[in-house]
Symmetry: C2
């Protein structure tokens, strides 16, 4: 059994892994993600490497082995199913469930997780639109673009939001930019680095301006 600490390292290695599969995740980024000093990350990764859950190349970085990836996906499955349960069944606000799930993900049993999955009818996405890996460890891909690179003036639906901080999600809430919301991108200003978005908020169309940095966090699907 992997300790809570190891589960966290594996999860962060998975989430922070570079887009290019051949690349290694640097220790600096990992230590930031886990929230420990670089030295701690190095020695911990050495230990996890001894358990064959990651490959570790000194001065290059770290990368999950297939076994490590399966474990990471299992943790992620727990995390995301719990988030959805907290929102749908327990009625918590989606801005607060991330922190809660960070703790719960390490203690729910397989049996309880199976019940949660059943009650939610085997959902594919969590409240933020993040995909829930299957029990077999498969991630169902949803290929879609962000508010930064989707076509202009076409109706789309928000599918996923890449930010878990409670404050940001509360802002998203009041703007009506939740997953499922119908929006269209009216214009982009490359000089000001802003995007103008039209949202239907309580029946009325509203205009909203977002920076490129924030626009990039919203994934949309053309409807």
């Amino acid at each position: 059994m992997a300790s809570r600490t190891i589960e966290n390292y594996l999860k962060q290695i998975y989430l922070s892994r570079p887009a290019d599969e051949t690349q290694w995740l640097t220790m600096g980024k990992l230590s930031m993600a886990v929230g420990v000093t670089p030295g701690t990350a190095t020695s911990m990764v050495r230990a996890i490497s001894d358990a064959h859950l990651v490959e570790y190349e000194p001065r290059a970085g770290v990368r999950l082995t297939p076994a490590g990836e399966q474990l990471a996906l299992h943790v992620l499955r727990r995390h995301r199913l719990i988030e959805l349960l907290l929102v749908k069944v327990l009625g918590l606000d989606w801005s607060e469930v991330h922190a809660e799930a960070e703790e719960l993900e390490h203690v729910v049993s397989d049996r309880l997780l199976a019940r949660i999955d059943e009650i939610l009818h085997h959902p594919a996405f969590d409240p933020h639109g993040d995909p829930i890996p299957t029990a077999g460890g498969v991630v169902r891909r949803q290929d879609c673009c962000t508010v930064l690179d989707c076509p202009l003036d076409s109706p789309t639906r928000i599918a996923r939001i890449l930010d878990q901080s409670a404050e940001f999600l509360q802002y998203v809430n009041v703007c009506g930019l939740l997953p499922g919301a119908e929006i269209s991108v009216a214009s982009r200003n490359h000089q000001a680095q802003t995007v103008e978005v039209m949202v239907i908020k309580s029946g009325e169309k509203q205009a909203l301006t977002l920076s490129f940095a924030v626009a990039e966090k919203f994934f949309v699907q053309t409807t």
Copy 2:
């Protein structure tokens, strides 16, 4: 914040405390309850005593301070509310929820606990009939007797079962001796140390024989 370990010690000190309030809980019993060696219990209790959560008298034993008792009751409240949630909302079998709650009790936030309490409509008892302390740390007492000392031949209702082991509870399940079940005690045999109990099981009255030791685990309330 008390660590998970300290929470467990406090909970066990509360649950194992001797009936007589003036008595101390011996270190031997505590170490058994927590599942550590006596030496470990001694040093841990020393530490908890430094935090003024217990009084510790070498060679006599240990006893909760008011602050320690409040913390213990808070853990117990979490444990029992979680058990009830797992049975009522998540549909787990009541024989398996104890083990699950042992883990969860240390990680649910106050906010989540409040939601659980609300969803269950502020319940007073968990699936085993154990009282759920209030948020203010008050235990509502239900004064009732056991199958060992209740009057003969009068209809009663099972109110509480003092055993959390999954195997025992599964046996209780098949006998129909669950909390809420209507039973009456037909006779007691002090020589054989057995009690004969009548249960209404799937519409039919059935006789059941229990040992004194087991009978003592069932609390009943006259209806």
